[in-house]
C-alpha cells in the first residue's frame, strides 16, 4: 500500500499492513487442523481406554453389583450370561475384552443400564443429553461474552472505580456452584416465588414447539443458567482484564492512539482483539469446569439432564451407565474444543500465516 493511494481515505479506517495480510491470508490452515485432529483423536482414545480399564482395575464390576441388587435370585448361569453381555467375562483375555469393547463402541453400543431395567445406555443418555447441552451451551456463551466484555472495559479503564468488580467476581467464582444454586432456590423460588425450583418443565405440560412449552423451559432454566453464569464469570473477567493490562502497554496501542484513532476502535479492534486470544485458549479448561458445575446444578435443581442421570447411576452403582455418561461428556467437551479452535483460527491470523 503506497502512501499516495490513500490520499482520499482516512488511514485510520483502512488499517495497517496487518489488516492487509489478514485479508489475504484466508488459506486453510491444514497443519493447524491436522495437529489438533491428531490430539483430539488421541484424547478420545485415552478416555475410552481409561473407561475400559478403570472398572477392571478397581472393584467396580457391573455384574457383581447387579448380583448384589438381585440378592441371590439369579443363578450362576445367569451371571455368566450377564458377564458375556457386559463384556466382563473373566475367562476371556484382557486384550480380547478390549477389542470387543471397541467393537461395541463402534456399533454405537454403550452396554445396558442396570438401574433403568436393562435398557440400552445410549437411550437413557440420548433423552437426557439435550437438556444438559442446552444448559451448558447457553450458560457458557452468556458467561464468556459478559465476562470478556466486562474484563476488556475494566482493563481499559484501569485505576478507575471499575477495578472493584475484580474482587467481587473473584469472590463469586470461589463459591461452590451447588451452594449458590441452593441459595438462589431459597431466595428466588421459595421466598419470592419468581422462578420454579426444579425440573425442566411442569409435569402435565406437553413437550412441543409451542409458546407455552418454550416459556416453561425458559423460566425453569433461568435459575440454573444464572447460577452457572455468575460463578463462572469471574475467571473470564480476571483473565481478560489481566491480558488487557499487558496488551495496553504494547507499542502498537500507543501508535494507534498517536495516529488519533478513536478510542472505541483501539479498545475493541486492537487491544481486545489481541487480549481475547488467550481467553479462547483457556476455553479448553473452562469448559471442563463448567460441565462439572452444570452436572452439580442439575442434581440441585432436579434438572433432567446428564448430571441427574449420573447421580442416579452413582447411587445405583450402575457402572455401564456411568461410563457411557463419561464417554459422552468427553465427546461433547472435545466438540466444544474443536469449535473454540475454529474460532481461534479465525481470530488469529498467525495460525493461517504459518502455513505459507
Amino acid at each position: 500500500m503506497s502512501a499516495d493511494s490513500q490520499t482520499t481515505i482516512d488511514p485510520t479506517l483502512v488499517g495497517t499492513t496487518a489488516t492487509g495480510t489478514d485479508r489475504q491470508g484466508s488459506r486453510v490452515p491444514w497443519r493447524f487442523i491436522g495437529g489438533r485432529a491428531v490430539f483430539y483423536l488421541f484424547t478420545l482414545w485415552a478416555a475410552i481406554t481409561m473407561n475400559f480399564f478403570l472398572p477392571r482395575l478397581l472393584k467396580g464390576d457391573a455384574v457383581d453389583s447387579f448380583m448384589a441388587r438381585s440378592q441371590g435370585q439369579l443363578t450362576p448361569a445367569a451371571e455368566k450370561a450377564l458377564r458375556a453381555l457386559f463384556g466382563l467375562d473373566k475367562s476371556v483375555p484382557l486384550w480380547e475384552q478390549y477389542l470387543n469393547y471397541w467393537n461395541m463402541l463402534l456399533h454405537g453400543n454403550l452396554g445396558v443400564s442396570i438401574s433403568t431395567g436393562l435398557a440400552p445406555v445410549g437411550d437413557a443418555i440420548a433423552s437426557a443429553l439435550p437438556w444438559t447441552l442446552g444448559l451448558v451451551g447457553v450458560a457458557t456463551i452468556i458467561s464468556f461474552l459478559i465476562g470478556t466484555g466486562l474484563g476488556a472495559v475494566i482493563g481499559w479503564r484501569r485505576g478507575s472505580r471499575l477495578d472493584a468488580f475484580v474482587p467481587v467476581t473473584t469472590f463469586l467464582g470461589t463459591v461452590p456452584y451447588f451452594w449458590l444454586g441452593l441459595i438462589f432456590i431459597a431466595i428466588f423460588s421459595t421466598a419470592l416465588g419468581w422462578f420454579p425450583a426444579g425440573h425442566a418443565y411442569e409435569i402435565g405440560v406437553e413437550p412441543g414447539w409451542n409458546g407455552d412449552f418454550i416459556s416453561e423451559v425458559v423460566s425453569h432454566a433461568a435459575l440454573p443458567v444464572a447460577t452457572i453464569v455468575i460463578v463462572s464469570l469471574g475467571g473470564w473477567v480476571l483473565g481478560m482484564r489481566n491480558m488487557m493490562l499487558t496488551v495496553l502497554d504494547e507499542d502498537y496501542i500507543t501508535v494507534a492512539q498517536a495516529k488519533g484513532m478513536p478510542n472505541q476502535r483501539v479498545l475493541w479492534k486492537y487491544a481486545a482483539r489481541n487480549a481475547v486470544l488467550p481467553q479462547i485458549q483457556s476455553f479448553a479448561l473452562a469448559i471442563g469446569f463448567i460441565v462439572g458445575g452444570t452436572l452439580v446444578m442439575e442434581m440441585v435443581f432436579s434438572y433432567p439432564g446428564i448430571g441427574l442421570l449420573l447421580l442416579n447411576a452413582t447411587n445405583a452403582k450402575d457402572y455401564a451407565l456411568m461410563q457411557g455418561i463419561f464417554l459422552v461428556l468427553v465427546l461433547a467437551v472435545l466438540v466444544a474444543n474443536i469449535l473454540a479452535d475454529v474460532a481461534y483460527a479465525i481470530l488469529d491470523p498467525r495460525t493461517r500465516q504459518t502455513e505459507a
Binding site: A47, T170, L180, L182, M243, T246, L329, V330
Partner: protein, 363 residues
C-alpha cells in the same frame, strides 16, 4: 530464546478461582529477577524466591489460610462440643450464646461441625494438592527438560487430562470404592488435578533450559540433579507456588462437591458433608444457620487462595500492579491514561479525535 515448539503461548488458565493468569507470562518473557547475589546458595535463592509472598494481597491470603489451619489443628479445644454428639432436646435451634451457629435436626452443634469440618477440608485438600504438585513437577519439569517425542508425549498426556472433564471422572473413580479412606479421596482429587501445573511448569522449564546460566552450568559439567535442583527449581518457585494454590482451590471445591453429592462417605466430616445433611433434611430455606456458614467458609478459603495467587501474579508480572497505580496517579494530575499521547496539545487533539471519532462511528 524460545524453541519453536513452545511458541504457541501456553496461557491456558483455569477459569475457576485463583487462576494463575499471568504466571506464564514469565515463561515467555524475560526473567524478572536477574540480579542475584554473587555467592548464591540453594537456601539464599529459596529465600529470594519467597519474596512473592511479601505483598499485601499474598499476606492477607496467607493470614486467612493460617487462621483456618489453626482452627483445624486446635479443633478439639475450639469446638464447644463433639461434632457428632446428638442432643434430641435441642434440635434445629437458631444461633444463640449456647449454640453459636445453632443446631441440626438431631441437635448437633453446627459451629463444632464447622470447626471439625475445617480439619477434613484442609487435610484432604493439602494431601491432594501435594500429590498433584509432585506429579506436576515430575511430569512438567521432565517434559520441559527432555526434547523430542518424550517431551511431546508427556505434554500430550497432561493436555489429555486438561481436556477431560474432572468432576465426572472424580465421581466415577470415587464411586468405585465402597468406603474410601481419606488418602484415596485425596488421590482421586490429585489424579484429576495435576495437569495444569505440569503444563505451566513444562513451558517455564523449556524457556529456562536455553538460558545462559543453565547452558553455563551444563558446560561446567554440573550433574543433572544439581542443574534441576539448584539452578532451575528456584526459578520455578513462583510457578510451582501459583499452581499449588490453584490446585488447592480446585481440590477444595472438588472435595466439598463430592461430599455434597454423597459420593464420599459422610463419616469424613467436612464442609460439604454439613451441606449434604442440610440438603437431605430440608434445611433450605428456613434453617439458614445450618447451610449459610459452611458455604461462606468454602468461599472464604477460596478467596484466601485467590489472594495468594493475585500476589504471586503481581510479583511475576509487575504490569498488573503498576497499571492501576500509574493510571490513578495520572488521574490525580488531571490526565487520562487512555489519551496519553495527545496530552501535550489538548485543544487541537480534542478537536481532532472528536472528528475522527465521528468519522469512525459513521463507518
Amino acid at each position: 530464546m524460545n524453541t519453536p515448539a513452545e511458541k504457541t503461548p501456553a496461557i491456558v488458565q483455569p477459569v475457576g478461582a485463583g487462576a494463575p493468569e499471568t504466571a506464564v507470562i514469565l515463561a515467555t518473557g524475560p526473567e524478572g529477577s536477574t540480579e542475584r547475589a554473587p555467592e548464591k546458595t540453594f537456601w539464599s535463592q529459596l529465600k529470594a524466591s519467597m519474596a512473592m509472598f511479601g505483598n499485601a494481597k499474598s499476606a492477607t491470603g496467607l493470614i486467612i489460610l493460617g487462621l483456618f489451619a489453626l482452627l483445624a489443628i486446635f479443633a478439639p479445644w475450639i469446638a464447644p462440643t463433639d461434632p457428632n454428639s446428638q442432643n434430641l432436646n435441642d434440635t434445629l435451634q437458631p444461633p444463640s450464646l449456647h449454640h453459636l451457629l445453632g443446631t441440626t435436626h438431631i441437635g448437633q452443634d453446627v459451629f463444632s461441625q464447622l470447626v471439625y469440618g475445617t480439619r477434613g477440608v484442609l487435610v484432604v485438600g493439602f494431601l491432594a494438592t501435594i500429590m498433584a504438585t509432585v506429579v506436576a513437577i515430575a511430569v512438567g519439569v521432565t517434559a520441559g527438560y527432555l526434547r523430542g517425542w518424550r517431551s511431546e508425549s508427556l505434554s500430550a498426556l497432561s493436555n489429555v487430562f486438561l481436556v477431560i472433564p474432572g468432576l465426572p471422572l472424580m465421581i466415577i473413580v470415587a464411586s468405585q470404592f465402597q468406603d474410601p479412606p481419606l488418602w484415596v479421596v485425596a488421590a482421586v482429587l490429585g489424579f484429576t488435578g495435576w495437569a495444569w501445573g505440569a503444563r505451566v511448569l513444562r513451558a517455564q522449564t523449556m524457556s529456562l533450559r536455553n538460558r545462559d546460566f543453565i547452558q553455563a552450568a551444563r558446560a561446567n559439567g554440573e550433574p543433572l540433579h544439581r542443574i534441576i535442583l539448584v539452578e532451575m527449581l528456584p526459578n520455578l518457585m513462583a510457578i510451582i507456588a501459583s499452581s499449588f494454590v490453584g490446585t488447592m482451590t480446585a481440590a477444595v471445591l472438588g472435595l466439598t462437591t463430592l461430599a455434597f453429592i454423597g459420593v464420599i462417605p459422610v463419616s469424613n466430616l467436612n464442609w460439604g458433608t454439613i451441606l449434604f445433611w442440610a440438603q437431605q433434611n430440608n434445611a433450605f430455606p428456613d434453617y439458614w444457620w445450618w447451610y449459610v456458614p459452611a458455604g461462606l467458609c468454602i468461599a472464604l478459603l477460596g478467596v484466601a487462595l485467590s489472594l495468594i495467587n493475585f500476589g504471586i501474579d503481581e510479583y511475576v508480572n509487575p504490569r498488573l500492579r503498576s497499571a492501576g497505580e500509574r493510571a490513578r496517579s495520572m488521574k490525580r494530575r488531571g490526565l487520562n491514561i487512555n489519551a496519553s499521547v495527545t496530552q501535550v496539545r489538548t485543544a487541537q487533539a480534542a478537536a481532532a479525535t472528536g472528528g475522527a471519532a465521528s468519522e469512525g462511528d459513521a463507518v
